[in-house]
Symmetry: C2
Subunit: 593 residues, 2 copies
């Protein structure tokens, strides 16, 4: 059973991602080290003791639909209420609306734990928090007053309604329409698919944020508006009143996250209300809906990255526990009597160390991204701009690398279990199934790669990425300067990987400058992976340097060295794909037509 790695999470926040320095510099108000520890420790308890035990039943029974009402798995509504009452929904929200105003780093750290406990459960709150962010940034004072307090407390949940059958990554072609009414409200008509927690029995009301198109809107993404559409219209007393004309038409039958209802939502077909049309209120300006969504999209992407970390952590714990107790054969050098635990076999150790290193690397990247978000709020002017860019640069890598790691590590976890891994009751298979959605939703990892290469590399004319690489080189230099032989070849390996990152970056920047768009896009995914591996190597080294000296520190160095000498060498081939793979790819594309 999952046990939240509170100590490791706290260490990564403080010594790898930058929370320690931030606290020391007083960047986060009166947030103290003690409070951080108390929050993490209580979150760890809740995730391990309350959420994780309900994960399996959630998977087995799933969410069910009857007469437009969704029933979540047994125990889940009570679990949600206990979670909200614990204040976990309000960590980062503004105090004005009942939030605790804590740094985003604590949000992602707790998110990791909820998702390790049960990804299907945690994805609901994730979306509510995204809706809170969008509403906070763009909603009218009235909308905020009516909705935010209940959404921050968790009394009501939110949902995000973007996708339509023909409009997934390309929102510009969506068809859901909105009509103006004289009273300043709108009526929404259309169908949305893949709406996570679009309907459920956790809360008395659900606040849908819905993208739709006005009759006179310009074509494409510049003609999309964002609306707030509550399941129940809110009365003057602030309580839910009449049913709005929106309902869940069907649930998807999915590979994983079975406890999470994935809804097809129908707006305005007249099933509820006197006249057809779901009543909606505009958020932000007409035709500026996509900009409103972008506010929360970066954070949502980072939140999905956390799901990758979370699954990887849970899979690693499970596999390690199994490998320690399962005996089979005799490993080389095994001195015990009888069979050795399979963890003693070098091949099994390779899998487990790879799982550990990738998990810690992905965690460090996502936390560093959250730190940049926090610093962009805690600073001003040029500094704030720098940190906002840093967050912007790291977001696609955090989302894609961590979710790929989630899938890969979950797959290794199944493999470590041998035949037992294929049996559902073991639980490794559930992680393998749940993990698979994360590289897809909130923008596929391919979309992230396009974003990284075409929009993030050019930040500050390339200075942002150059600055980050310089920072990482500093870490490699410190490893060399430590003169600690336990690091083995780490310094040299890391330097070589950073050379690969530099060369690939240079090449992509040149391709873009020369208008060779297809060449750049052909290398985007290998580049993204290379980026993630380079950060993994560097961040593991940063952690090892921070704790060098004592027993845990020796373990960090050993894992860092393993990653340097066994994992990150892959960057040479990835760089190669970026700088010389495009021609053969584009030449072979005709094969596919």
């Amino acid at each position: 059973m999952y046990k939240a790695p509170v100590e490791e999470i706290a260490f990564t926040l403080r010594h790898v991602a930058g929370l320690g320095a931030g606290l020391a510099e007083g960047r986060f108000g009166d947030l103290s080290d003690d409070l951080v520890d108390a929050i993490l420790s209580e979150a760890g308890r809740f995730a391990s003791d309350e959420i994780a035990p309900l994960a399996e039943i959630g998977d087995r029974q799933g969410a069910t639909l009857k007469d437009a009402a969704v029933t979540t798995p047994p125990g889940w509504p009570a679990l949600y209420r206990a979670w909200a009452e614990g204040g976990w929904n309000s960590l980062t929200a503004a105090p004005k609306f009942g939030g605790q105003g804590l740094p985003h780093m604590l949000h992602v750290a707790t998110m990791e734990m909820w998702n390790s406990g049960s990804m299907a459960f945690a994805i609901g709150p994730t979306l509510t928090i995204g809706a809170v962010e969008a509403l906070s940034a763009h909603g009218s004072a009235h909308l905020k007053d009516v909705y935010l307090p209940k959404m921050v407390s968790g009394e009501w949940m939110g949902s995000m309604n973007l996708t339509e059958p023909h409009a997934g990554s390309d929102l510009g072609v969506m068809k859901t329409r909105a009509e103006r009414r004289d009273d300043g409200t709108y009526r929404i008509f259309g169908q949305k698919i893949f709406i996570t927690y679009g309907e459920h029995d956790f809360t008395d009301n659900i606040v849908h944020l819905v993208l739709a198109r006005l009759p006179d809107a310009p074509p494409g993404t510049r003609g999309i508006s964002l609306f707030l559409v509550p399941k129940f219209l809110v009365e003057a007393d602030g309580l839910p009143g009449a049913r709005n004309d929106v309902f869940c038409h069907s649930l998807e039958h999915k590979l994983g996250i079975h406890g999470s209802p994935t809804c097809t939502m129908i707006y305005g077909d007249g099933r509820f209300g006197k006249e057809p049309g779901a009543v909606g209120w505009l958020i932000g300006e007409e035709n500026k809906g996509l900009a409103c969504m972008f506010t929360m999209m970066n954070n949502a992407r980072l939140a999905v990255g956390m799901q990758g970390v979370a699954i990887a952590e849970a899979a690693t714990q499970k596999a390690l526990a199994y490998a320690r107790q399962r005996t089979q054969g005799r490993a080389p050098g095994w001195q015990g009597s009888g069979m050795s635990p399979i963890v003693e076999h070098p091949d099994v150790a390779r899998m487990l160390l790879t799982m550990k290193a990738l998990t810690q690397g992905a965690r460090a990247i996502t936390y560093a991204c959250a730190h940049a978000v926090d610093m962009s709020h805690a600073t001003e002017g040029e500094e704030a701009r720098h940190w906002a860019e840093r967050a912007s640069l790291l977001t696609p890598v955090a989302k894609s690398f961590a979710t790929d790691v989630g899938v890969d590590v979950a797959s290794l976890g199944v493999q470590v279990h041998g035949g037992m891994g294929f049996i559902e009751e073991t639980g490794a298979a559930r992680l393998y199934r749940d993990a698979r959605i994360a590289p897809i939703y909130e923008g596929t990892n391919g979309i992230q790669a396009i974003d990284l290469v075409t929009r993030k590399l050019p930040l500050s004319g390339g200075d942002q990425i150059a600055g980050l690489i310089a920072e990482l080189r500093g870490i490699a230099g410190s490893v060399g300067a430590s003169n600690d032989t336990a690091f083995g070849e780490t310094a040299a390996r890391l330097a070589a990987t950073l050379d690969d990152l530099q060369a690939a970056t240079d090449w992509l920047e040149r391709a873009l400058a020369e208008g060779r768009q297809a060449d750049a896009l052909a290398g985007a995914t290998p580049y993204q992976r290379l980026f993630g591996l380079a950060l993994t190597g560097a961040y593991l080294a940063r952690g090892a340097l921070a704790e060098a000296g004592d027993g845990r520190g020796r373990e960090r160095i050993a894992l860092c060295r393993f990653a340097a000498e066994n994992i990150i060498a892959e960057t040479a081939a990835l760089k190669d794909r970026v700088v010389s793979g495009a021609a053969s790819l584009l030449a072979a594309q005709t094969l596919l037509e």
Copy 2:
């Protein structure tokens, strides 16, 4: 829906794996080119039109157990009977027992198609054919006369009973026991788990091959005997009579291959028969059971490798069809109106080309392995020994590389589908689930790697692997000599990969010679992958060279070049893991304790 790639399969058999030369040299009796085509074409029709349409219902309904009786999915018993009546069970068996005596290559080619149609369906017949092989090689004349004709025709199916809860990879510790009886029969007592098609409703009788231990057997693997234990005892008239004391106690709830019943079998608890004990007949000699199993184990491993190829092929077809029709965004250079098909996006093209290249590489490796099996039977003396060694060397690579490819390609297939990939009805998710067992059963891929490094590299004092590498170098040389610029950097890339293979091989041989067992085992899995990638690069080139000149040939060259310039460069990092990864791995192993 899957459509068997008959032309591609025939091409690979003939021009890459060696069937063409074998036929030309008259190695396979009166087997003609026409007959090969007729067999492949009819198998393709059966797989596409009969099996594939029943895959989804098999997955959804699965196999169920009631009162020790298993019900397979609707339509499956009839499907099995049609398949057996088509003669597909008897392709390679001896004509004396009703078999067709055809080369093993046709067996694996047809196996690929059955498994692409439905892996859950095809795994049953695979095990019957393994049982036929073991019985043919080691059974007494009487046992063969009684059982083989019905097992060859498919009227009865077989099952393989090896695993026990505490004895998976390590069969030496099994506990199922056998007692001698005065009439020359034995009584079997014990429990076996993970018994595929241990009980079902396809046939009137099931012939279990069971490993068990005699009371006076030496400890470990030298004390295991193999027994034939029919579900129904066979009467003098050759028909099933009394029920034997063996039954299916429970079915596993699995991640995938739901239609395939995975049984816990109980032997000799007295549920059936007058006195407890399942009646069994010895196959081969007492305490030599493991040797009997090894007869069929290599072929079973190759058959599982085929499952990897099969899933990869099915996943590639499905993803390609989707990517051609799904439109989203505008790819660079897209000239059409509106959104472009996603296949036009370079990132999607990269996934699809990778899927294609890995599938064809895995197919070529498995077919080449089957060709070596055939040649070992079609030749004599030194030549036969050479081919037997070649088959032996290629088997672990065929099993492990192809099954890893199955998982990776199925995962890419989900990704290409975006959100639809996570919806079960699309079918991509089923392939992702089904694929995951293949790297585990019939010896995990980690076990294959140990086998490859410790038992296969030393064949003929290293001459066998050296000879293979020389052969592959010949292919790289031919690419260079072709002077066809469409090959791009293929010759140089392939040569570099073969240098990696050579260097890693040398290093492992030295480590083994010096008794550094742990060092060698630490690198076994990366070595196995490196081996598979080198063969993929070389065999794609061999195919491209064979068809150079015409339209299809240009496509082969383009895919070969893509693999050379975008996939096989990974071998440098893999070689690196072999030759310098062990120290950091073994140093970090303490972390896991």
